[in-house]
């Protein structure tokens, strides 16, 4: 399966978007959005990640299996983070002494 070489133009567009998003995340950090600050920061980071993965890493043109592999990796990171945090976040929730 021979892939077409993507155009320099499309790579440049992605590159510039990444730079703009970097500037954006920096600027937004200086504005007080309360709890939304961390949401914005993560959201922008995820968008940048998607741009790099889909276009620079050619995930867009990859096989379904590759996409499942990447999705699986993200899911497993999610399991590690969320299930572990479920301990720390819920300490003291149940009225049991010392817990």
């Amino acid at each position: 399966m021979h892939e077409q070489a993507a155009s320099i133009k499309s790579y440049t567009l992605v590159f510039l978007s990444l730079l703009i998003l970097t500037a954006a995340t920096t600027v937004v950090a200086f504005i007080d959005l309360g709890p939304l600050n961390v949401v914005m920061a993560l959201f922008i980071a995820v968008v940048k990640m998607m741009l790099v993965a889909l276009f620079f890493m050619h995930l867009r043109y990859s096989t379904v299996l590759t996409k499942v592999v990447v999705g699986g990796g993200m899911l497993w990171l999610g399991i590690l983070l969320l299930l572990s945090l479920s301990d720390f976040v819920t300490r003291g929730w149940l009225p049991v002494p010392g817990k």
């Binding site: 299996l65 572990s84 479920s86 301990d87 149940l94 817990k99």
Partner: protein
Amino acid sequence: MITEAVPERETYLNASHGIKSWLLTKDHKRIALLYLHTITFFFFLGGIFATLIRLELLTPKGTLVSADTYSKLFTLHGIIMVFFFLIPSIPATLGNFFLPMMIGAKDLAFPRINLLSWYLLVIGGCFALYAMLAGGVDTGWTFYVPYSSNYSNTYVIATGIGIFIAGFSSILTGLNFIVTVHRMRAPGMTWFRLPLFVWSNYATALIQVLGTPVIAITLVLLICERTLHIGIFDPARGGDPVLFQHLFWFYSHPAVYIMVLPALGVISELVSVFAKKPVFGYKVVAFSSVAIAVLGFLVWGHHMFVSGQSVYAGLVFSFLSYFVAIPSAIKVFNWTATLHRGSISYATPMLYAFGFIGLFTVGGLTGLFVACLGVDVHVHDTYFVVAHFHYIMVGGTIMAYLGGLHYWWPKMSGRMYPEGWAKLSALVIYLGFNLTFFPQFILGYLGMPRRYWNYPDEFQVLHVMSTAGASVLAVGYLMPLVYFMWSLRYGPIAGPNPWGATGLEWQTASPPPAHNFDETPIVTTEAYDYAALAAREEVNVG
């Protein structure tokens, strides 16, 4: 025994000569044998530590060794058995040898990475051996902080590095297997025609790839904590020791499935061949392997019920832990259904399979005992848990490993092992095992803590029984070592398919040629299709 002249046919064993041809091989079959030697060495080394432990526990007070030395004994026993024997065992030996053959491939996807995996295990093992000889490590194989990070004066770092490197070996094997099964199957070998042994090793590979990196980072953090005092687990800095346990068990629970899933795959093969019946509910059994792999990642907190973890999290983990028992139980039911109205042969591999099914069931059911939060509060850190996991790891995995070794021995070596001695050792192992570990359930339930070097007098009888069992078990394990080696020279020559099994590995010579098959197989039959096999054989004879 008649020693026949071995026909001068080219096999993977004589295709090239000299030590370089082994140490620089790319042949998955030779790499499997390299692993076989390495893990056998570690098994007996771990066994020596077990022997010393059981000898010390013959008496209630310390006799043979000091308390500190005792701590080193159980730590080293655990580390060697888990990381340098059980985790590589079946995948790196039987998996490496047979997975490519079972799918009709010439080799794994990345043969040189396969060789690298072996070297990494050996190098990791060297670090562990160094730590052992320099003075040992006494933290328990679980390395809990703050003892391992702040207080232990033993070789924690060297051991940690050794395990880190061995973990890399495991990751690369898993990576290799996943890619191979997805992309290197012969024409006609669809997913649902794969032998169940392949499904099990595939599911195991998923765990190796997803879980092992987490223990890798855990060891890095432990080493940083120990050397640089970064404080990440240190309450004085605001750190939390329970974080270490989360990171440790996120891997180490799925690790137990790395240790047992390939064994479950072996048993599926044995039950089918020695009942001459296709495995009942093939698809369900195949999916159950993947289910175990996935669910196994969601339950690690059941090791931490009394650690200071939140009760809410404890409830969630306890609840989820019940689910992971279901696919395992499904396998046992399906094997039973396979046996029903089968044409059963009691060859040695089948004896091991029967032993496995009973002992794994006991181990699995007692897993449910400890999954129950309330019960675990009482039996945590007692011999009840020790008995539970030894029933699975020894009564389960090691029996399956031996069963698989006997089953595939003629294919790997071209020789048959002596059936009489083999049956006897299977029996000795079974009896020795139960005498060793059943008393430990009782000991644990009565309150005997694990990792203790002395104990109240009233526990002595049970400990003596356990040690007696261990001596019997040791004899049982030594016997195959002797007769397998004997068989290489004096065993009867084996044909391509001494068991009448289906599966592509039985359609090539014993031992196989270096390139596995003379022509790429084209698969047209389902797995375990004994009727098709019989028809094929009639055609060959006629």
